[in-house]
């Protein structure tokens, strides 16, 4: 699966936010709103998770999503499914063509296992998720985090069943765009990982663009909680 499809949406009409390297971003997307994530400088992993906006017990399910589409990669046409088997979002445009679904987010503890017990202090995506959830006032905790999507990361699987962490195939300005089917909360960590090449050893900013279908003028409005 590698469906390169460009979007016809006009960035001038979007609500736009730059998320700096190592920062988090959390926002509710109403059904019908479209989110574009832009890899501004290339080779940046964007760890992304989705929860139902009204009942966080329903959340993105990697295993259901992969099984139902019969493929480990997400790209244009992929339906992002929940733990209850319902569509949360659909990917409607993608100029990168491949996004990791197996590796999940980095964490202080997984960094210890992978790179050395002394690595616990290093910045990581799970800490960003925890801080974003704590600040949200939504009564979310670690148990609400499941396996997430790593947009713009390239992690092929070999025929023998091994993971192969490869250099990204993303580049400056590549983007992925998804439309919410239901009201969802988007949780993003712009990955701070410095121990492997998932960010090209150089974490960089990404941009979030949100379009309202019911506001053709694209007028800005405060984020919806």
């Amino acid at each position: 699966m590698n469906a390169i499809v460009e979007s016809s949406l006009d960035p001038k009409r979007a609500e736009r936010t730059v998320v700096q390297a190592g920062d988090h971003w959390m926002r509710e997307l109403k059904a019908g709103q479209t989110l574009r994530i832009v890899d501004l400088e290339g080779n940046q992993a964007v760890d992304t998770f989705f929860l139902d906006a009204h009942d966080p017990a329903e959340r993105y399910c990697a295993q259901t999503t992969l099984r139902e589409q019969g493929n480990i990669y997400l790209t244009t046409g992929s339906r992002i499914l929940s733990t209850r088997g319902r569509e949360m979002l659909a990917i409607v445009a993608d100029t990168c063509g491949r996004h990791d679904t197996l590796g999940g987010a980095c964490a202080a503890e997984s960094n210890q296992v992978r790179y050395g017990l002394e690595k616990r202090h290093m910045h990581n995506c799970r800490d960003s998720f925890l801080l974003a959830m704590a600040r949200s006032g939504r009564n979310l905790s670690k148990k609400d985090i499941g396996p997430n999507i790593n947009f713009f990361m390239n992690v092929p699987v070999t025929p023998e069943g091994f993971l192969d962490f490869q250099d990204g195939i993303s580049a400056p300005g590549k983007y992925v765009e998804m439309r919410a089917t239901r009201d969802v909360v988007v949780l993003v960590s712009n990955c701070p990982q410095l121990n492997n090449p998932c960010n090209g050893w150089n974490p960089t900013p990404v941009e979030m663009m949100v379009w309202d279908p019911w506001r053709p003028s694209g007028a800005r409005h405060p984020p919806v909680r």
Binding site: N2, T64, L102, G103, P147, T158, G161
Partner: protein, 239 residues
């Protein structure tokens, strides 16, 4: 030094859960050789900590489980090690089948007609077994399908790729006190449309501790560190 404590026979279509201690093992047997056992693990003393499939995969650079390997928690600890394995491929991708999937594949059944042969599904099993232990849907993470093989093509396509062999077995050694939840239901990508779930037999054992020469500890530095993080919770403790 294996010591058999007791045996559980899990009928096809049924589920089971138990708290098991560090030092205990579970020898899981698939007598017919085409069974499937869905597995989830939690820290029994702090169920906020549970099996983290992505962390387990990436630290070992694998997309499926095969001995020697660890099943790691979201806290970097080995919850369990897979120490014996005549199957060689346990699926980490297919996840839990649910009621809708079971109904579409096997048809709707009623308890009135089918009684204990009613079609079941792994997700409902997990919700019930977790409920027994005061846990619920928010505690349910990704799972492993023991004895099932899903291969991945170079284009990312998933393929049901069975390797049936009567008498297959796999042994888990618990490195922490765990809550184990299992469901003996077909893999959700098994294309079969006849409801014929297979019995799985599990022996609860006492196993020797992983020494310096342990194959799992030495399988890669990452597994050595995951075992060390578990050992820090239980200094010197092994039954």
């Amino acid at each position: 030094m294996h010591r058999l404590l007791h045996t559980e026979r899990i009928p096809g279509g049924a589920s089971w859960s138990s708290r098991l201690r560090r030092g205990q093992g579970l020898r899981i047997q698939d007598p017919t050789g085409d069974g499937n056992l869905v597995l989830g693990l939690w820290n029994a003393n702090d169920p906020f900590e549970r099996l983290n499939v992505p962390d387990s995969l990436k630290s070992q650079r694998i997309a499926r489980f095969a001995a020697p390997c660890t099943l790691q928690s979201d806290m970097g600890r080995a919850l369990a090690s897979l120490v014996e394995d005549t199957c060689g491929w346990h699926d980490a991708i297919g996840g839990l089948g649910d009621h809708a999937l079971s109904a579409s594949r096997f048809g709707e059944t009623t308890y009135q007609d089918s009684r204990n042969d009613r079609v079941t599904n792994a997700r409902d099993h997990f919700l019930v077994e977790l409920g027994r232990h005061g846990l619920g849907e928010r505690d349910l993470g990704a799972v492993v399908n023991l004895f099932s093989r899903i291969s991945v093509g170079s284009d990312g396509a998933l393929r049901w790729d069975p390797a049936a062999k009567p008498g297959r077995s796999a042994t888990l050694r618990f490195e922490m006190d765990v809550l184990v939840v299992v469901s003996a239901t077909p893999h959700p990508m098994d294309p079969g449309t006849a409801w014929n779930p297979r019995e799985i037999v599990v022996d609860v054992d006492l196993l020797p501790p992983p020494g310096p020469d342990d194959p799992v500890r030495n399988s890669c530095p990452e597994n050595g560190r995951a075992l060390e993080l578990s050992e820090r919770l239980f200094p010197g403790e092994w039954p």
